[in-house]
Symmetry: C2
Subunit: 377 residues, 2 copies
Amino acid sequence: MQKIFLLTPGPTSVPPEVLSAQSKPIIHHRTVEYGEIFMQVCEDLKYVFRTNNTVLVFTASGTGAMESAIVNLLSAGDKALVVKGGKFGERWAGICEAYGVKMIPIDMEWGDAVDPATVKAHLDKDKDIKAVCTTLCETSTGVLADIKSIGEIVKNTPAVLLVDAISGLGACEMQTDNWHVDVCVSGSQKGLMIPPGLAFASVSEKALKMSESSTLPKYYYRWSDYFKSLGKKQTPWTPAVSLVVGLAEALKLMKAEGIENVIARHAKLAEAARAGVKALGLELFPKVPADALTAIKVPEGIDGVKLKNMLDHKYDIKVAGGQAHLKGKIIRIAHLGYANYTDIVVGIAALEMSLADLGYKVEMGKGVKAALEVLHS
Amino acid sequence: MQKIFLLTPGPTSVPPEVLSAQSKPIIHHRTVEYGEIFMQVCEDLKYVFRTNNTVLVFTASGTGAMESAIVNLLSAGDKALVVKGGKFGERWAGICEAYGVKMIPIDMEWGDAVDPATVKAHLDKDKDIKAVCTTLCETSTGVLADIKSIGEIVKNTPAVLLVDAISGLGACEMQTDNWHVDVCVSGSQKGLMIPPGLAFASVSEKALKMSESSTLPKYYYRWSDYFKSLGKKQTPWTPAVSLVVGLAEALKLMKAEGIENVIARHAKLAEAARAGVKALGLELFPKVPADALTAIKVPEGIDGVKLKNMLDHKYDIKVAGGQAHLKGKIIRIAHLGYANYTDIVVGIAALEMSLADLGYKVEMGKGVKAALEVLHS
């Protein structure tokens, strides 16, 4: 009897209420009925983003919402400061380069978190920087960035602060307005607990103002069309109706729990995961770990690809391996979205058994015990 | 007891097999399991597109796939010939303009079909035209374009032929390869019978060659990344997994019926709809009607918006009204995708009753009789 646990950092497990909602007969998107659902979703997204700004909804992967920020704010030759140090920081860089934006990288070792002082030094030195591109939770390394401190710096400059909170939103603390984030980007298949296919971007007054002078070409992602359509409770292009209907259900669940409780739940799960992992003698990969996922260094002598496959095929626990040069060197266990203590218990238990299978010395149950002590505290 | 019939030209009704498939627990997209489903989908799309070329899959509305064609093929200042004459022809024009492509319009009255000789005259006169942008079934007017004849003309020039077959594919005859179509674009929520959120573009050798010299900026829609990822049975960005899983089911249904039979079914349904409508003394709007939907002139003295609302609220039949300057002047009844004789019978019956409710002189049952005579022939 197979029971699959999807502990990957996106897509994440989808609650049954959402699966059921999105399997209802499809409705047309230019109707009063859809308009009401859509406007409720837009309102509830503001609650989750902790913003009073409009949150735009795109039918796209999260990358599409990131691209929307660049093409609506900047012009060719503009300068953007990009915090790298992971696959998703590099995505900001790639988008900038594709559009002829002068990309100033803050290069870091993967696993390191950016020092806000470095951001400040760049902005002090170069007054022409128009955008600062960052990542709340760098999914490829499990690192959390100190967006609050970066926001305090960027707000005093003409630059806008763009935050990729695709895997971070709804898991890590993210206060869009209080932290002076101009564009917070997210996706549907992480903390928002629905399948992939929707992407989001909140837009501050400062960003809106900057967008007026942007000359980069855009059509599908042209924000002004999305703002115009919002007045008619619509999107400019046919939206992914079934996903929006599913999202309405997921947001209801988040409101019922309360966003502070959602964040606190993730903090507890993450703490338990870290305790469990450390009790097994394993090391965390990130210097500053985010609460959406736990990235673990594969111990000396163990093949990380084999470990991932063991978890996957013998124990039916789906986790992520390392990307790029980290392939085989780390594994990433998410506790993100529709997750509670059961996922941690099962995840750590399977990790113990898999490690033992591969010849790593494990005192069986030690990791679970440490996790339980946190979960039960 | 309410029974809703969704007879809009997208989204269209979704078969229960598809609704059920897309409500299964979500799977991760970088797995063998997903890769197999995705590659089968790519193969089956070729069958439906009638092409041996690769069909790229985007997480986007159909408009996204249209934009992908422009930004991957052209450079700023290039010339594109655009067949207008409806909202979706105008969309090609809008995309070209947004990207600085010199757009040469073939302007037509809405409802008219383009004369292939006009396309030839333009191409003969101006050898610099790099792309011809057309629409198989112009959803806003119900007009069918003669893509086959246009293809015979364009193939002898350096230009590529782009066809928006978003509402046409799987309803109207569309032979991508035989008709020398370089890029055939479609969407998920029409003839392919799944919810909106996926878009497609087939890419010919000629298009692939032209894409090598394109300098328009692109990132999310950069074809080369999609081709590269296909080698790993993936897409570059997280795909709309639940929709791809649903599409796999829908394509199974289409293969089981056979694409020729799918097209013949739509031809029959369209013929029946047209017969029913004419028997009621109504006129068709398009000069050359497509088989995906039937656009009808609202008769003198009847308010088209009221007619649509009557169908919608009293009879639970969802149809589309006119767009832009046709608002209130036409109604559009789709027989597209998951549709059979029952939809025609119910649709025409409700149309008769609604017209009678609004004071139009109807010999009750006359439209249905005419439709049945076609359906039963």
